[in-house]
Structure formats: C-alpha cells, structure tokens
Symmetry: C2
C-alpha cells in the first residue's frame, strides 16, 4: 500500500495535533455533482451503481478532484446488509427503498442469519480495495455501515417510514425479540465493517440515522447498546495504525455523554448541537465531527464562509475536530457552494492549530 | 362563566398541588376518532371544519366524552394566521397545506401587516367562546398558536418542507430581514393569543413545531427570541386566575435551560428527552408537559400502560407535571389504545401526589 500523504483526518479523530482542521462532507459523492449524475446514468439505477466496482470507485473519487477534501468515503448504501440478508431490496421510481420480504413475525426474525460479508457482499469489499488502490495514499478511506436500529427500521417497516410504527411497536411489545434482531444485526455490521477494514478502509463510521427518533430509554437499549457491541468486535488496527470509529446518531445531541463512553473515537454531531457545549460535555474522551446545517449551503458563498468561521471559533483550539456538515449534502446544492464550504475550512482553520 | 370544576391542569402548570397528574393529548380531537371523521365529512374540507363554529366546537368536545381528560384544546390549525394575513391557504388532495402567495422577496415581507384578530380571525374567537360556554366549567380550555419561526417556514416555503431551504437561506443571507418578518409574526401571534384569552381560553400553548430543525444559535435568535417577545405581550390573568403559557419546541431538548428563562410557565417535552433529567435541568422554574412517544400507541394496551408508569416514575413527585404525548396522536391509532393511555394516567398517577 502507498504511504498516506495526508493523515489529518485520522490524526484528528484520535485528537492528535494537525496543521489545520480536516474536512469531508457526508454524501460528498452524490447527486449535486454533474459528473456523478453522468456516471449514475451510465450505471442505470442506484443499486447498479453501488454494485459496479469501477463506477462506485469513480464516483467516490469525483469530489476529491474538485475540492480540498481530507478523506474519501466508500460509495455505497446502508441497505446493502438487509438486501444481502435476503430481504430483497428494490426501488420504485419516485419512492424510497423498499423490501420485498420485510420482517413481519418472530419466525422471520428467528430465520434471519448473520451476514457473511465475504460470501454475500464481495461487491462492497471489491469497491473498497479498488478505491484504496486508486487513492494511492492521497487521503484515507472511510468505510461505513448503518446502525442496527436504523437497519431494523427499514427491515421491519419494509422501507422508509415517518413514525416507525411497526418497529417501535416491536420494541415496546416484545423487547426481548427486538434484542434478538438487533444482536444479529450488530454481529452482521461488525462482520461487514471488519471486512471493509481488511479490504483497506482506514476509519469507519456507523450511521445511526434514526436513533434520534427514539425515546431516551429506548435509545440506550435498542440503538446505543448494539452499537457498543459492534465497536467491541471491530478490528482496531491496520497497516500499523489505529482504525478510528466514528459514531453518528442524528438527533442524538442529548445523549453525548453516554455516547462518549461507547468506545467510539469520535462522535458525529448534527447541526442542532452547539459544538462548544458538546466539547465541554464530552471533554477529552472523543473527537467531534461536524456540524454545519446542510441548509446553509443554499445561502450565499459569503454566508457559508461566515457560518464555517462561526463553528471553527465555537470549537476553539482545533485539536480533535473534523469539520463536516451535520447531515448529508442535498441533491440540488450548487457545487460552487460546496466549494465555498471546503475552501473556507481549508483557509480559516489553521488559525486554530499550533502545528 | 360557570365555575371551573376540574382545575388540575391549570394548577399543575403553575406547580401547585393536585390530587393526580392531569392529562391531555396533542391532537386529541382528530382523525383517530370515528366521530371526528363523521363530523369532518359533514363540514367538507379541513379548513371548512375550522371555520364552522358549531362543528369546531363539536370536535373539540368529542374526546372529552370518551376519556378522562383534564383539558380541552381549541380545534383549529396553526396556518389560520398566514391565511388571514393574505397568503391564501389551500389544500391539495393527498398533499399538505399550500399558500397561493408565499413570501418571495423583501417587498413581500415589508408589505405584510400585523394580524388584527378581531377583524380577520373572528371565526377562531367565536369558536373559543362557544367551546368555553359548552364546556360549562368541566375542564379548562387551551388556546394555541404556531410559533413565529414555524409560521415563517410555511409562509416562505409556500407549504410544508423537508429541509426549509428557502426559510433557512433567508436566516443566513439576510438575518435582519428575517427578524423583521419574525417580529411581525410575534406581534400577530400575541394579538391572536390575547384575543383567544379574551374570548375564554384559560391557558395557551405556543407550538414551535420546527424550532428543532434549527442550529443552536439560529434557534436562540430566530425562534426563541420571538417567542419570548410574544410571552412578554400576553394577558396573564383572566377571571381572576393566572393564564399559564406552555412553550413547546419539538426537538428542543437541548435548549431547556434557556427556554426555562423565557417567561413560559411550562415547557412541552417531546419523547426523546428523559423527563427526569429535564426536571433536574429546569429545577422549579417551569412545569413540564409530556412526554410519551406517540408511536407507543401502536403497541398493546399493556405496553402503553407500562410506558405511562415508567414516565410517571421517572418524573417522581408529580407536582408540576402535565401528562401528554411528546407529539400529536397519529390518525390510525385505535381509540381503545388512546383510552389505555388516558386511563393509565388517571389510575396510576395519584401515587405521585400527596393531596
């Protein structure tokens, strides 16, 4: 493997000194980029793009050619796992993801087998290997997975949901059965992330997109606990370096103290949390990643720069800060506005570092 | 006016002793009730129901005939204000509310005139008067309004929105102009709530449905500040009793300490906040209203009862607690499940009071 030339991102996640705050953007390889839309059109539908090693690699690299970004993230989807577990993922035009065989009974949950990534998701690890090779040491590669609770919502509801009525009814009606499912998913996610690490991922992020929809007690039991199980099973070193783990619960700002005890190296923050208060609350236990409101990208480049400046100043001394949005960039943002974001971090953040 | 027979709700909002925890439910007059659906069918569309004094009164009273509820809430919609301000509210089948003339420029905002409730929304105050008369002192009547920021999102976006891109772009691109709009809305809401109080509302609630979508600093400036302005202008006594104010920011759990300094008597909590920790954080400054996850109503009556018990126990001594959901009841909940919720509070909560 080529030596890593830019390791700001990995160092910041471990709260080591860096020259400026590293930055990447959730969904940085995505529809807001015309070159992404072109590649996707070649692939056909969204899952065909995920499953095409060359094209998944291509879209992963696209934003790095435009902007000063400090990490690449595997282009894939969180629903690869339930698809590989036999639920039959499909997309209907104009609607979200759907499953042909959602979990509808205790028997469905009992019948579910823990994922074997090597056998069932080699297209993901192939993409990781190729991207890592193509990056050629320029920046580190992030692997990722959805959290068990987040995956469970899609598997139980049969697709996206506004209120998670079936998934939540399971938690309250049969919490033990819910734990059986979440444990199988935790084991599956651990296998999946370890396979990505073996294939070349240098850091991993767990996306808990829907943990923030849970009541406090339910979050601790049904979302945080399985994520802790995953972290306890992860390979934490590769190529002689620590592989940092980022845990991101959208809407999880009330639970940061507990999340900081989970074994994660860093916590993702959505934009509702004041990053200065968050830092006080977690102390030196974890690094923080975030957290500009993605909607600021609809404002002018000047407003974007000024919001980046505000967040850098709120965090203060930049050790242990990875700049990001508080959630993914949306499809109709102007790519120049994304550029204003990346450039502002690159230009303004060195004042907060002493290296 | 008839003397108030059940004042648990008003007393609890002022943290005065009561015999058991009072309870009501956001959207308790709503589509989950077959009698509501029948009345609505008579009225025609949703806004015709809001504007028909007799029928709005009828649906307000319906849940009180079924369940042991300690407060009635005016049946209306938060979008009455922008409609009366000239934006032209309409509903398209299968879609949310829309405005014919959304705010698209500084000139649109400058042209906007502060609401005169007596002239422009007499159908609301007529409904308040009639409901108060029909309640005949059985339980108190809650008036309400949307918060300025929440109203502004609909007025700027022209309807519902997932990411509030136009409204947020205004906040970041032209914060002073945003404040002009939010101040006009604060003045309008104050006029509207004072008119409801004059017509007979015995408590008022400000629904800040979308404050939780804002970044921390933006929440303080663009949502909390105008709500404080409203509270400072409200009539706080009627019929020789204090008129309590409840402030409810959905997703506002991170900001409770600041909200507790706003002048509100009580804060609404959504279900993501642990009510025990919330109580520690606000101390004796405000009462708390909440906070069961509405999705629990999809679980069994036993599970509902057990979740009510858990929340009562988490709050502890019941002084200053009004039980509620953490958000509105959803249309396809079984009315028997709603009954399990109300009955559980009525039956289990006296153990937490010493009166």
């Amino acid at each position: 493997m080529a030596e890593l030339k830019n390791d700001r991102f990995l160092r910041a996640l471990l709260r080591q000194p860096v020259d400026r705050t590293p930055v990447w953007m959730m969904r940085q390889a995505g529809r807001y980029l015309p070159e992404y839309r072109e590649t996707r059109a070649k692939a056909g539908d969204f899952m065909s793009l995920c499953k095409n090693t060359e094209l998944a690699c291509e879209v992963t690299l696209q934003p790095l050619r435009r902007y000063p970004i400090d990490a690449a993230i595997l282009f894939s989807d969180i629903l690869t796992i339930p698809d590989a577990m036999g639920l039959g993922l499909y997309f209907e035009t104009g609607e979200g993801p759907k499953f042909k065989r959602p979990l509808r009974s205790a028997a469905d949950i009992d019948a579910l087998e823990v994922l074997n990534t090597a056998e069932q998701l080699s297209y993901v690890t192939d993409a990781v290997s190729m991207i890592r090779r193509e990056l050629n040491g320029s920046v580190p590669l992030i692997g990722f997975s959805g959290s068990p609770w987040t995956l469970a919502t899609y598997m139980i509801e049969g697709g996206s949901s506004k209120d998670f009525r079936r998934a939540k009814a399971l938690l309250y009606d049969d919490p033990d059965l819910a734990e059986v499912l979440l444990d199988k998913l935790a084991d599956s996610v651990a296998d999946y992330l370890n396979a990505q690490i073996a294939a070349g991922a240098q850091a991993v992020q767990i996306f808990d997109s829907w943990g923030g929809a849970l009541a406090h007690d339910a979050y601790l039991r049904f979302s945080l606990r399985p994520m802790k199980k995953i972290i306890s099973k992860l390979t934490r070193e590769a190529d002689g370096r620590r592989v940092p783990v980022v845990m991101f619960t959208k809407g999880g700002g009330q639970w940061l103290e507990t999340m900081a005890e989970s074994g994660a190296d860093a916590l993702g923050l959505d934009w509702t949390t004041d990053i200065s208060l968050a830092r006080d609350r977690v102390g030196d236990k974890v690094a923080l990643q975030g957290n500009m409101d993605p909607a600021v990208l609809y404002a002018s480049p000047e407003a974007i720069r000024s919001e980046v400046a505000r967040i850098l100043a709120a965090y203060g001394d930049g050790t242990g800060h990875v700049f990001n949005l508080g959630h993914g960039i949306t499809p109709d943002v102007d790519p120049e506005h994304a550029g204003a974001f990346f450039n502002a971090v690159a230009e303004l953040s060195s004042a907060y570092h002493r290296v």
